[in-house]
């Protein structure tokens, strides 16, 4: 028994969901009439089992566990309320869940879990506008939550609001400037928007921060080629940023470098991937 409790704790500490295994471990414990251990850790295990139950659609089990938590911590517990909201979400009572989250936020507008739950629920329901508004309100309070910034960026992207999405990624970059993934997102958004000079710089920052980053080098090559292409056009047709962009020779060398590095990376995987990569790069 103690092994099962220990395994549950290990799963919990690894932040994994793994609902099937959690339920497989917990059901014999609950079925035997015993609890999930003693002390503070037991209640964390109940919460874990509850989440696993709603993940797996075991609504009866979820209801029983929720009942036990409710009995222990009472109706005033915000954490139990959130779990109740999740139960309602899983049961398809979205309005009820939304009401409960609303109540929780009315009681404490800084309740992070309630806010996030509400935003996640709105997003799942496809109410992107409301979800965006809630997330913006959330970020007004919790501006240092870079994951929320990335989430907001993703919401804007889904709505083709690229400048707003780029702004969100900039916020994340400000908080973690050494994270190459943020630079990559930012570069790709700018590439999409046509701000190729910024995109080139950011792709180069990506390959600087991450050795032989394939996505980064491919971005460098694409961007450099696109800028060269733009620079070859007549002056009048060139975009405004063309003058500030690097000289064609530099761009060519960058493109060659990116190609060489991409072939080198794929060549390391074997002859066949290298040939495929050569063919693909020749096409693009």
């Amino acid at each position: 028994m103690s092994n099962a409790v220990q395994l549950l704790a290990e799963i919990r500490q690894s932040s994994e969901r793994r609902p099937f295994e959690v339920l497989k471990l917990a059901e014999p414990l609950l079925g035997s009439g015993g609890g999930l251990g003693t002390g503070a850790d037991a209640w964390l295990a109940y919460e874990q089992v509850f989440v696993a139950a709603i993940d797996d659609g075991e609504m009866e089990l979820a209801r029983a566990v929720l009942g036990r938590l409710h009995k222990r911590f009472g109706a005033g517990s915000q954490r139990v309320k959130r779990l109740a909201g999740m139960f309602n979400e899983a049961a398809g009572h979205a309005a009820e869940a939304k009401r409960m989250y609303g109540e929780m936020l009315a009681a404490d507008e800084t309740n992070v879990l309630a806010s996030k739950r509400l935003i996640a629920m709105l997003k799942a329901q496809g109410q992107l506008g409301e979800a965006t508004a809630q997330l913006v309100a959330y970020l007004d309070t919790h501006g240092n939550d870079f994951e929320a910034w990335l989430e907001l960026s993703a919401l804007y992207l889904r709505q083709q609001l690229y400048p707003q999405a780029a702004f969100c990624v900039e916020e994340a970059i400000l908080q973690q400037p050494a994270n190459h993934y943020f630079h990559l997102c930012y570069a790709e958004i700018n590439y999409t928007m046509g701000a190729l000079d910024v995109a080139l710089k950011e792709f180069l920052r990506v390959v600087e921060l991450s050795t032989d980053n394939v996505r980064g080098f491919y971005g460098v090559r694409l961007t450099a080629d696109r800028i060269l292409e733009a620079k070859r056009r007549p002056k009048k047709e060139q975009p405004a940023w063309a003058d500030a962009a690097p000289q064609p020779a530099t761009l060519e060398r960058l493109s060659e470098l990116a190609t060489e590095r991409l072939l080198s990376v794929y060549g390391a995987a074997g002859a066949a991937p290298k040939r495929a990569a050569e063919a693909w790069l020749q096409q693009s």
Binding site: A40, W43, L69, F73, R79, V80
Partner: protein, 970 residues
């Protein structure tokens, strides 16, 4: 809840601290970490006296001490140290004690109150130390004294003022004074030709008028066994004669009477009379002893002279005793009695004047203290008697009649200590070792049994400690720890002393308990050397001390290796001839790990050198060591030269000899006043820091050579020159001339060296610009490799033969007082600063910190910022006699001969030992006790606080857990 938990913890801690008021009364450390033994020396004159109902034993000793001892306990009631004076006569009477002494160019007479020891008066006359002197009470109740001092017969009254004085002239060496019949008689042996004889000068007691002077007892000398002064009579036996002639002092007709021993001793045959000897019994009384051999047995008879009504002299036998192999003595205080103490077993017999018979036994360890050589009988206040005996080894014993054991004993051998060595002791046994010692072999076979025994032993130790704590003594009783067991801090060591009476004795440095004593020879022990240190395992070879002693009777030198923990003689060699001039421990060891010792006899050529132990193996080891590293030593073999020698082996490699290496001749007109300083060991000069960091972070590198030696020379033109020599090359490193200084017996030159610092002190008749304008001056000389910061000798090899000249920084200070010895403290790793300990003539041991003696102290101006950063304070000439720095606090450590410092295992702490007349041991922490808990630190409180906190945590933990859960689910 965390706040609540903190409150609980703090509350419990506060409770524990509050309990300290009841538990934390720490006694003063005085007398606990230090110990002091007031000694008097070996008595050469003893007298008993009862005054106002209290009996005391008065002693004059060979260390120049006059002391009153309690007759029942042997404790010192009072003592007076007449340092540097030889005490001639000791007389007690009428509640007064009279001592006549000579020394320092004066003959002195002092009278003290017998009860309190308060000086009543003193009288001094200029005299040579060889001039005879004597003193007697006038005996009329006035307390006046008639004395021979400075070639005159003087009557000295109260206040020490001479009432009259009569010059005696140089015809005889007047060494006796007799007061009788209104006259004072000075008696002396005639000088010059004429075949000896006694010269008597008679003076009127009232005014000192010369009444008569004449010669008597031609050809006789006092102390020869054929002539004595007994009261107012001079008694002598002509050589080859069997009758005595007795002369009543002052009588003219007849000049002498004839007496025959048959009058008192019927059994005397003429041949016995011819070999008999006369001895003095009680000073001033008309009594003497006759000692003769009869039928192989020695007998002593006490005889009293009496005068018949017709003026004729008669004799009366007072007592007779067989005195085979015994020391004989008399009883003072009017009740003439004879006591004989057997030299072999301490049994004593006494006969009183009235036929009273007493006997008893003074049991003692004759192997440790030698035979009894002196005896006396003392009357107590209640009319009882005490036999007092002094052994050759310096033990003073006192016993009551009928008792087998001595009533008390005082070991005075160490008042004559000549040398001392400190021996490390093995640490106390662990619980496992105790268990192994206590278990029987069968139980030892089982690991579980051994484990259980070990825990049982530890539990018993803890229980004993707790029991001691409950009884109010938290520290374990030192008495329970054997004197040969050390401690974990190195505080407990054995101090092995050599004494002038041939005794080697080991005392524990903590508390002074005696571990063992052994008498090696009938002469002085010149040197004690630790030849092998304590090994970590009991099975290893034992620690060894080697003692070099003189055998006065056999004219030989005894070199003995002793087990340092038991005193057992491991090896003893008797070398014929005079003692060696130098005993030099060598940096080489024999195959068994025992350090080799060179015995050096000085002659006009190369000194004779012998290696001890005298085995071929030892010689080979020495030759191997000398081949690896040249061994040097120096000798001051005449008044104007110091020579250095190198130990050299012949081609066969087993005959070490001394080859001349260098000679340092003093400049013309100078004679050696203080020989080169004693060479202890290299560790005394070891340093933790190679340089001295100045305020600007530059470094002055120290001149760290273990071969620097200091000597002083007296200049014919006046003044003293001090030289620092290198012992290896003989090169002069530094010299200083003190034009107004003087060195002599009264003003000794004392010096010490440590690291790169030499400190010496000498008397100055004139100190320019100082007030008072004369006094002792302490000079400090620091040796550096260069006077330029950061410059140092970069050569990789540091050879004494090829060293650069040091840069010397010196400063002179007004000494805190006349010092008889100096020493620098030593610690384990030489990190702690070195205090300099001054043994002052006043009996104080003063410890001065190194910064105070710094020659770099700025003169005439406050220190600059750099100098302040270096820790320098402005120069001030006087070295303060700060009572807080007096290590001996209330004790008077008299006549200190040498101060020794030894490291302990704690870097902060050094042991300091002073010996001379008295013994004193203490611990010093020159830089503070930075690696120890304060004495006021309560371990009990710490344990109680820890337990309380643990209990608080146990109580608070569930509450805190509940709170955390509730907050997480709020």
């Amino acid at each position: 809840m965390l706040v609540g938990r903190g409150l609980v913890g703090r509350g419990l801690a506060a409770l524990a601290v509050a309990a300290q008021a009841a538990l934390g009364l720490f006694p003063d450390e005085a007398g606990r970490i230090d110990w002091y033994r007031a000694q008097i020396g070996v008595p050469h004159a003893l007298a008993g006296h009862t005054h106002n109902g209290t009996a005391a034993l008065y002693a004059a000793t060979e260390r120049g001490v006059v002391a009153a001892l309690d007759a029942d306990s042997g404790s010192v009631r009072w003592r007076h140290v007449l340092d540097g004076e030889a005490i001639g006569a000791l007389r007690v009477g009428g509640g007064r004690v009279l001592a006549q002494s000579a020394g320092g160019g004066e003959a002195r007479v002092r009278v003290w109150d017998a009860h309190s020891g308060a000086l009543q008066w003193a009288f001094a006359r200029h005299a040579n130390s060889t001039d005879p002197a004597a003193a007697e009470f006038v005996g009329d109740g006035s307390g006046d004294v008639v004395a021979v001092a400075g070639g005159a017969l003087v009557r000295v009254g109260a206040g020490g003022e001479p009432a009259w004085e009569l010059r005696l002239g140089g015809s005889a060496a007047f060494g006796r004074v007799v007061v009788a019949g209104g006259s004072a008689f000075a008696i002396g042996e005639r000088r010059g030709g004429g075949g000896g004889g006694l010269r008597v000068v008679q003076a009127a007691l009232a005014d000192g008028a010369r009444q008569r002077q004449y010669s008597v007892a031609d050809g006789q000398a006092l102390g020869s066994g054929r002539a004595v002064v007994a009261g107012a009579h001079v008694l002598w036996r002509e050589d080859g004669d069997i009758v005595w002639r007795v002369h009543r002092l002052g009588a003219t007709s007849p000049p002498w009477d004839l007496l025959h021993a048959k009058m008192v001793q019927e059994e005397l045959a003429p041949e016995d009379m011819l070999t008999s000897t006369l001895g003095e019994l009680a000073p001033g009384e008309p009594r003497f002893t006759l000692t003769y051999a009869k039928a192989g047995a020695r007998k002593t008879v006490a005889i009293e002279l009496d005068e018949g009504p017709d003026g004729g002299v008669g004799m009366r036998k007072l007592a007779a005793l067989r005195t085979d192999g015994a020391a004989i003595g008399c009883g003072g205080g009017g009740g003439a009695a004879l006591v004989a103490v057997s030299a072999a077993d301490g049994a004593w017999r006494a006969r009183g004047a009235g036929g009273e018979r007493l006997r008893g036994r003074l049991a003692y360890d004759a192997a440790a203290h030698g035979p009894v050589v002196r005896a006396a009988l003392v009357r107590t206040a209640a009319g009882g008697a005490r036999a007092v005996a002094v052994t050759a080894g310096g033990l003073v014993l006192c016993g009551a009649p009928g008792a087998d054991a001595a009533l008390w004993a005082r070991d005075e051998a160490l008042a004559h200590a000549t040398d001392m060595a400190l021996v490390d002791l093995p640490p106390p046994p662990s619980g496992a070792e105790r268990a192994a010692a206590e278990s029987d072999p069968a139980a030892g076979a089982s690991a579980a049994a051994r484990y259980a025994l070990r825990w049982a032993a530890t539990a018993r130790a803890v229980a004993a400690w707790a029991f001691g704590l409950l009884r109010g003594s938290a520290a374990p009783a030192d008495a329970a720890i054997p004197a040969t067991v050390g401690d974990h801090f190195g505080f407990r060591k054995l101090a092995v002393f050599g004494s002038g009476s041939g005794v080697v004795a080991a005392l524990n440095t903590q508390g002074g308990a005696r571990a063992w004593a052994r008498r090696l020879a009938d002469g002085a022990v010149d040197r004690v050397v630790v030849a092998r240190r304590c090994q970590p395992l009991a099975a290893d070879p034992p620690p060894v001390v080697v003692a070099v002693a003189r055998s006065a009777s056999a004219n030989a030198t005894v070199v003995a290796a002793l087990h340092a923990l038991t005193g057992a003689v491991l090896r003893s060699d008797t070398l014929p001839g005079p003692p060696p001039a130098r005993v030099l421990p060598l940096p080489a060891a024999a195959a068994d790990g025992q350090q080799l010792i060179a015995l050096i006899w000085i002659s006009s050529g190369a000194p004779a050198l012998r290696v001890w132990p005298p085995t071929p193996d030892a010689a080979r080891s020495l030759c191997a060591a000398a081949a690896a590293t040249p061994l040097f030593f120096d000798v001051a073999d005449d008044d104007a030269r110091v020579r250095g020698f190198r130990i050299h082996c012949g081609a066969d490699g087993d005959a070490p000899a001394a080859l001349p290496a260098w000679a340092f001749a003093l400049p013309p007109g100078e004679t050696l006043a203080a020989p080169p300083t004693r060479y202890d060991d290299d560790a005394a000069h070891a340093a933790a820091l190679l340089g001295r960091v100045l305020g600007d972070r530059s470094v002055l590198y120290k001149y760290l050579s273990p071969h620097v030696t200091t000597l002083a020379a007296r200049r014919a033109a006046g003044g003293v020159a001090v030289y620092l020599l290198d012992r290896v090359s003989g090169r002069l490193l530094h010299s200083a001339v003190h034009a107004a200084a003087r060195v002599g017996p009264d003003h000794p030159f004392v010096a010490t060296q440590a690291e790169n610092r030499v400190v010496y002190q000498l008397w100055h008749d004139v100190i320019p610009g100082a007030a008072p304008a004369r006094g002792y001056v302490t000079v400090v000389a620091d040796l550096y490799e260069s006077d330029v910061p950061d410059a140092r000798d970069a050569r990789p090899a540091f050879s004494g033969l090829d060293l650069a000249q040091p840069a010397v920084v010196t400063a002179a200070f007004a000494a805190p007082g006349p010092a008889t010895a100096l020493a620098a403290t030593r610690t384990a790793s030489h990190i702690t600063t070195r205090d300099v300990v001054f043994a002052l003539r006043s009996g104080a041991l003063l410890s001065l910190p190194a910064p105070l003696l710094d020659p770099r102290r700025p003169v005439g101006a406050p220190p600059t910022a750099d100098e302040q950063a270096e820790g320098l304070v402005q120069y001030a000439a006087p070295l303060p006699l700060d009572p807080r720095r007096v290590l001996s606090h209330v004790h008077t450590v008299a006549a200190v001969r040498r101060v020794v410092s030894a490291p302990t295992h704690l870097e902060s702490t050094a042991l300091v030992a002073a010996y001379g007349l008295d013994l004193f041991f203490t611990r010093v922490t020159p830089s503070g006790s930075f690696d120890q808990l304060s004495p006021s630190f309560s371990k009990l409180n710490l344990a109680a606080t820890t337990l309380a906190l643990a209990a608080g945590c146990l109580l608070a933990a569930p509450m805190v857990r509940r709170q955390v859960t509730a907050r997480a689910w709020a």
